[in-house]
Amino acid sequence: MSTHTHANGRKRGIRGLLARIRDSQFLSELASNRLAIVGLLIIATIAGLAIYARVFIGGLPPLTDGQYEAITLSNLSGNSDMAEAPPSLRYPFGLDGQARSIFPRVMYGAWLALKWGTVTVGASTVLGVGLGILAAYYGDIVDNVIMRTMDVLLAFPSLLLALALVAIFGTGLQNAVIALVLVYTPRFARVVRGAALKVMEDEYIDATVALGATDFRVLVRHVIPNCLAPVTVQSTLNFGLAIIDLAALSFLGFGAEAGTPSWGWMLSNGVEYGLHSAWWWAFFPGLFLALTVLGFNLLGDGMRDALDPRMRDAID
């Protein structure tokens, strides 16, 4: 396995990348993991629903969340008795008390969850990769200061740290995302640093440096490509957590604005007003939230098991 990485480390460009994918032990091992496939299917379904909701319910020109609200209004809005109708053929998940059909709202919630999850995980990945590689490449004091700071941040429980940050920055979806990016960055920095250190132990890096490659070139051509696999696994594992934490912040009232069809907010609405009268308000958004997270956890778990053992160590 380790010679494998060496051989591919030298290949360049898109062709090299394709060759890597074709004879990747990682992918073939992943494909034989049934649970991971189930996870992948769940994610694909949710993503399909999300895109469907965004394109066909939301309409292609970008809608604000407020405009979206008008579209899901059923024509029962005048009839206050019917405004919170239970699930039926016409409204599969029922109405939400303001005569809005919950089914399309939940589907649109999938879009919001995946979108903000991607923003959160994407930003923390970029930040984490940057910091982790700086730490690994420059070592010594840079390494110590960066990584120890990351360690302290890691020691804080994620939701409590996010809450503290929200208390400082103020509430709102953007601030919630910023808070979560700060919370998640250390996890990526740690994985990347570990992976990068292992890559740099390889002799061919020394050889490249001896041949006169610049720091930047070595990083971009050799170190970063070899960190991709563990980073992808870490992103998958944390995607589910990020979606839960975002929903939790919205649930507590510090994330998505009231009325937006985000799962967290719909749940909070259901718990606050519908617990005794309308079980479907909280049930369906939460069900989709749990399913999505389960999908990412199943896939992430399978990916971790399929990972090169040398890299697996860096992920917890």
Binding site: N144, V145, M147, R148, T149, D151, V152, A155, R190, R193, G194, R312, D313, A314, I315, D316
Partner: protein, 127 residues
């Protein structure tokens, strides 16, 4: 078993103290110099008064100091747990309590130096 430093001139205690003072002291010196320069420069460059500048600079130092302190005690407190959890659970990131404590002592010392620096330069300029 007992790691208490013993009092003997030139014995383990002195080198024990010297190492730590050097570690924290150099960082504190850096923080102090930076704070003095920072306050003076900010006073010259920005229109803000001394009270505002010293508040900001002092808080920044306090931020580092608090973070370092928390990190240092956290490392000591959870050090053996984390090291052992890693030994058993395969999350080898060669984290060590020692490294972590040292880094945190530096950050904390830097912040403390900054706070002292702000107090010094501001009290001189206050009148």
């Amino acid at each position: 078993m007992d790691r208490t430093p013993r009092l003997r001139s030139n014995g383990p205690l002195w080198s024990w103290i010297r190492d730590r003072v050097r570690l924290v002291g150099s960082a504190a010196l850096g923080g102090g110099v930076l704070a003095v320069l920072g306050v003076v420069v900010l006073l010259l460059v920005t229109p803000s008064g001394l009270a505002v500048v010293s508040t900001q600079a002092f808080s920044l130092g306090a931020l580092c100091f608090g973070f370092g302190l928390l990190g240092w005690s956290g490392s000591v407190l959870a050090g053996s747990s984390v090291e052992n959890a890693q030994r058993y659970l395969d999350t080898g990131t060669n984290w060590s309590e020692d490294d972590s404590r040292r880094a945190m002592a530096r950050i904390g010392g830097f912040g403390f130096g900054g706070m002292v620096g702000v107090i010094a330069v501001s009290s001189i300029l206050w009148v």
